[in-house]
Amino acid sequence: MTAVARLEGVGFVYPDGTRALAGVALELREGERVGIVGQNGSGKSTLVRQLNGLLRPTEGRVTLFGRDTAGVHVAELARTVGLAFQNPDRQIFAASVRSEVAFGARNLGRRGAELDRAVQAALEAVGLEGEAATNPYDLGYSRRKLLALASILAMETPVVVLDEPTTGQDARGVERIQRIVGSLGETGRTVITISHDMRFVAESFQRVIVMRAGRVILDGPPVTVFAAEHAGALASTFLEAPLAARLGERLGLGTTPSESALLDALAAR
């Protein structure tokens, strides 16, 4: 698989002297689905902002498709990395759902039929195709979040970053986001999420990166990260494995990070 993004010895210190990242070395590949977890202040947001240039490494470097991000404008990097912010109200300004979704794609130069197609596909993916003319603030908070996500999807970037996509969503909303993540991966796009929802991460992502105090302390598939031997490392950053994993361990079934893994193991016994 092609390396889509590389962080080489990346460190970041804020102007006031606080260190947010230290010695991060990662490679993100095409079509990979990665979940980044960790306490607030562990550096998750700082890390993903290195990818689209909102923050620049104070040590080391970041490359996208082999090209160093240094000196490239954020607006230009947005062609490669789309970042859906946690709070949709920090970006919504348009009078209709459709224009809001079209904004990002339009900035990237899409016009006419190509733009309409991308917008329509994005609206359908989040289930807002029936609200294309609605004013965004007539939608509730959870649907505004889906709207913000749609506007990033319409940009059709090879890398998509989702910051806490499931907070405030009901079960249907979470399922929809899981479907979106799945289909992005299928079309060869790289999906990265920051999330507190361990179950969401364990079920929909193939790689989990655990952060603490600006460093990566665990990096591997859910079956490795949520294994019993790492329970201490997780606990040290006040995280715990999803129930399926904890149950599987208690029942002596090995590491079963997802519901289906647990049930498969039980059925096989």
């Binding site: 970006q91 300004f93 348009a94």
Partner: protein, 216 residues
């Protein structure tokens, strides 16, 4: 008067903090100096001539006086702002009868500023991440006004209802006076000084208006 204000400022060791206030007066001071020095009507004691206009000593003297007034004014404002704890000021105003709503508007506006600045930063980041060009030509950047100002205004407006309800839920609209938690001590000496200064100011203005005493 400038001398008095400067003396007080230096005594309170506020020299450095005064700088932004002084800088704010710079455009005005420059224009005062230029206009008065070169264009003072009827003056004939020239210093130098630049084409159709000439600098005069009278004009320069007038310019310096006007500048001194402006700077004294700015420094007085600076003194007030830098030496007054806004919370104490608001508490005291409310204690003396200014309505709770007015106090709330002023107080929350001041405290909300850092949050608003932070929010503005987040909005800029979010829109840049959607390809908004904030580094190109002026024309391009002008197109960013609505996507940048929009979320700010809209989110502030959409929060109004919830903020209002939260206030109601804490009995903000109860009638009567709010309890003052920490009344400010008002010593007789301070009160005497306040009234004394006020009367002195009235007398000075009166003298100046009646032509008896040129105010520096």
């Amino acid at each position: 008067m400038l001398a008095i204000v400067l003396a007080i400022a230096l005594a309170a060791r506020l020299g450095r903090a005064m700088r932004p206030y002084l800088l704010a007066t710079l455009p005005l001071v420059i224009s005062i100096l230029l206009v008065n020095t070169f264009l003072y009507p009827g003056a004939t004691d020239r210093i130098l001539t630049l084409g159709p206009v000439s600098a005069t000593w009278t004009g320069l003297a007038e310019a310096l006086q006007a500048t001194a007034r402006v700077v004294a004014f700015a420094l007085s404002v600076a003194l007030l702002a830098l030496t007054t704890a806004i919370d104490d000021l608001l508490d005291d105003l409310e204690h003396r009868g200014l309505g709770r709503r007015t106090i709330f508007v002023i107080g929350s506006a001041i405290r909300t500023v850092p949050r608003m600045i932070e929010r503005a930063g987040e909005i800029v980041d979010a829109q840049r991440a959607r390809g908004l060009d904030t580094e190109g030509s002026v024309w391009r950047r002008a197109r960013g006004v609505v996507p940048l100002a929009g979320p700010m205004v809209l989110s502030a407006l959409s929060e109004v209802e919830e903020r209002t309800m939260a206030l109601e839920a804490r009995a903000f609209s109860a009638p009567g006076r709010r309890t003052t938690l920490r009344p400010l001590p008002d010593r007789p000496a301070e009160r005497a000084l306040r009234w004394g200064l006020f009367l002195a100011a009235v007398v000075l203005v009166g003298l100046s208006v009646s032509g008896r005493f040129p105010l520096p």
